[in-house]
């Protein structure tokens, strides 16, 4: 098991490097150059040249990349152009906020998806099955940002049960209850898409597993229904289920941006969005890198869990 984990971790090193190259190059796509952006259009050409030299922007790209990489690896992500705050100080608290939102949404999606998926699989083709599958299709096809606004319209504006946006009451003294009240709508919004996908995949993989020969053999041994379900059906469907759950984590990390913007949730996503509009390159790079890195780690965790379940994967 240990060697499997080691091998997996080793394999992502080139990927992470590739990711860093992509992020670095992404910036090159931006029209205009940073010197103009920083000094304004009125600045003289000499001033801009001076700034370019100072920032090292006139050196060849690979050299710039090398310098950037060195800085990044040593933990220096630079300073935010817009706010002059060191990027690390800016990013970390936002990361925590996003983690709160993402994990709540994922948890919600798992609870809904696993339970409904299991029931639907055991009652395949029944009215329950068909109606829940239609509902999940509906939830999965809706645009997340619009769905969030619809929830706000219903629960915050019309019914006034929940706050419209933000993570906490500005006037209040914070606390868990306040946080939860603010968390509900964004978490539900972010959870619906993943919940729909998880429900369908859980149902499909359980139905598929139920058909496999070893299940009938286990029944022929007279094993009790609960054990049968646990050891021979759910266990064997777990690899597909963990994979799709892990994928949803990635989807959430990318998608919470929209939810965070709609609900003004001060997380990594909204920070990323602000940095895009403000062309705040260091922040843009750091947040994208962080999100991509988290995604890659999540994928590795999924692979490790699957290897723990299936001995054939460990020995590959």
């Amino acid at each position: 098991m240990g060697s499997f984990i080691a091998r997996r971790l080793l394999s992502i090193v080139p990927v992470i490097f590739g990711v860093s190259v992509v992020i670095f190059l992404l910036v090159q796509l931006t029209p205009g150059d940073s010197a103009t952006a920083l000094l304004g259009p009125q600045a003289t050409e000499e001033a801009k040249q001076e700034l370019r030299q100072a920032l090292g922007l006139d050196r060849p790209l690979p050299v710039q990349y090398g310098a950037w990489l060195k800085r990044t690896l040593s933990g220096d992500f630079g300073t935010s152009i817009a706010t002059q705050i060191p990027v690390t100080d800016l990013v970390l608290p936002r990361f925590v906020n996003t983690l709160i939102l993402t994990s709540s949404a994922l948890l919600l999606a798992m609870i809904i998806g696993y339970s409904i998926g299991l029931f639907a699989a055991l009652r395949a083709h029944s009215a329950f099955d068909r109606s829940t599958m239609s509902l999940s299709l509906l939830a999965g096809s809706a645009p997340e940002f619009w769905l969030g606004l619809m929830l706000v319209l219903l629960f915050a504006i019309k019914l006034k049960w929940l706050p419209v946006s933000g993570m906490e009451d500005m006037a209040g003294d914070g606390g868990l209850l306040d946080l939860l009240k603010h968390l509900i709508l964004p978490a539900v919004t972010a959870a619906l898409g993943p919940a729909a996908i998880i429900t369908r995949i859980v149902r499909a993989s359980l139905i598929d597993t139920l058909r496999r020969p070893h299940v009938r053999v286990a029944r022929a041994k007279g094993i009790k229904r609960a054990s049968l379900l646990r050891r021979h059906v759910i266990l064997n469907a777990l690899p597909s289920i963990t994979t799709i759950t892990g994928l949803q984590l990635g989807y959430l990390m990318g998608g919470t941006l929209l939810t965070e913007v709609v609900f003004a949730w001060p997380g990594l996503g909204s920070l990323l969005y602000d940095s895009i509009t403000a062309r705040d390159i260091p922040v843009l790079q750091a947040t994208t890198l962080l999100i991509a890195f988290t995604f890659v780690i999540a994928n590795i965790v999924v692979d490790v869990i699957n290897a723990m379940l299936d001995p054939r994967l460990r020995e590959a």
Binding site: R212, P213, H214, R216, V217, A218, R219, A220, K221, G222, I223, K224, R225, S227, R231, H232, L235, N236, L309, D310, P311, R312
Partner: protein, 330 residues
């Protein structure tokens, strides 16, 4: 003559259908037979004749759209068809053990094989998990797996097909059932391994004095293993006899044709004689005898009248109109 107390399983008029009454197919049509203690009964027929379906019906392992629509299956006085799923679960594995056809897909790839043997024990006895594991090691040794103490922790993909079948047999006999049903246990295995597995089944059956229902399409296996043979065609029993009687004095045209298929093998000069035509589509069975379209001895009456399984001589039943005639004519 069979003593009543010798009978372990009694099947009466078992009828199984796949699908609805209007559009469904009756794959097992009024099958009756009994299994006796310590004896091996072979159930023979081509693919699709309903022999596997019969076994699954007895075990109540059919999945929708398949269901048993008529008949009784008596095990020690209890009609299994009347039992609910939980009660049937207590019979399965404990009083009837079943071995299936394809060992490559019959084991759960994610569990060690020792667990898969032990779980039968923990389901039916009050052995602790540890004791069940110990018993699994013993069973593995008994079915011929060397180094059982170590191999009990291995996973199915560490074993060859023949070895996996031994594991499955170990699980099936773990609770010393009165009846063992083996559905084509060696079809998926190499010829050299087949003999060993069959030998194993025979030895175990003798040691446990159990009834063995051996389902196969291979007449060689039948000749080697069976005490009694039941021949099925298109969902029905067409002939039933002791093994010697069947091989030397077959009466039903189908049985004769089956034997003719294999006869020529040792005699190279003789031509292989396949049976003309194909098995009937059970959705729309022909009126009269189901074998009539392919029967070399067919007569007009065969196409109109459906023969019933009737005694031809002592311990020899045949379902053929011509045979009835023969017997009547002396």
């Amino acid at each position: 003559m069979t003593d009543g107390s010798d009978i372990t399983l009694e099947v009466k008029n078992l009828t199984t259908r796949f699908g609805s009454a209007k559009t469904g197919v009756t794959v097992v049509d009024g099958v009756s037979f009994s299994l006796k203690r310590g004896r091996t009964t072979a159930l023979v027929g081509e693919s699709g004749c309903g022999k596997s379906a019969t076994a699954l019906s007895v075990m109540q392992l059919l999945e929708p759209p398949g269901e048993v629509i008529a008949g009784e299956v008596r095990l020690g006085g209890v009609d299994l068809m009347r039992l609910g799923d939980a009660e049937m679960a207590e019979v399965r594995g404990r009083r009837i053990g079943m071995v299936f056809q394809d060992p490559m897909t019959s084991l759960n790839p994610l569990l060690p094989i020792g667990d898969q043997i032990a779980e039968t024990l923990t389901a039916h006895t009050d052995l602790s998990r540890h004791e069940a594991k110990q018993r699994a090691v013993d069973l593995l040794t008994r079915v011929g797996v060397a180094d059982a103490g170590r191999r009990v922790h291995d996973y199915p993909h560490h074993f060859s097909g023949g070895m996996r079948q031994r594991v499955l047999i170990a699980a099936a006999i773990s609770c010393s059932p009165e009846i063992i049903i083996a559905d084509e246990p060696t079809t998926a295995l190499d010829v050299t391994v087949q003999a060993k597995i069959l030998r194993l089944l025979y030895d175990l059956q003798q040691a446990m004095h159990a009834s063995l229902l051996l389902i196969t399409h291979d007449l060689g296996v039948v000749a080697a293993m069976a005490d009694e043979v039941i021949v099925m065609y298109a969902g029905r029993i067409v002939e039933r006899a002791d093994v010697d009687t069947l091989f030397h004095r077959p009466r039903h045209p189908y049985t004769k044709a089956l034997l003719a298929c294999v006869e020529g093998i040792s005699d190279r000069a003789a031509a292989l004689e396949p049976i003309q035509g194909m098995a009937p589509d059970l959705k729309d069975p022909p009126p009269g005898c189901r074998f009539a379209p392919r029967c070399p001895s067919v007569r007009d009456v065969c196409r109109r009248q459906d023969p019933r399984l009737a005694p031809y001589s002592a311990r020899h039943d045949v379902a053929c109109l011509l045979v009835g005639e023969e017997a009547a004519n002396g």
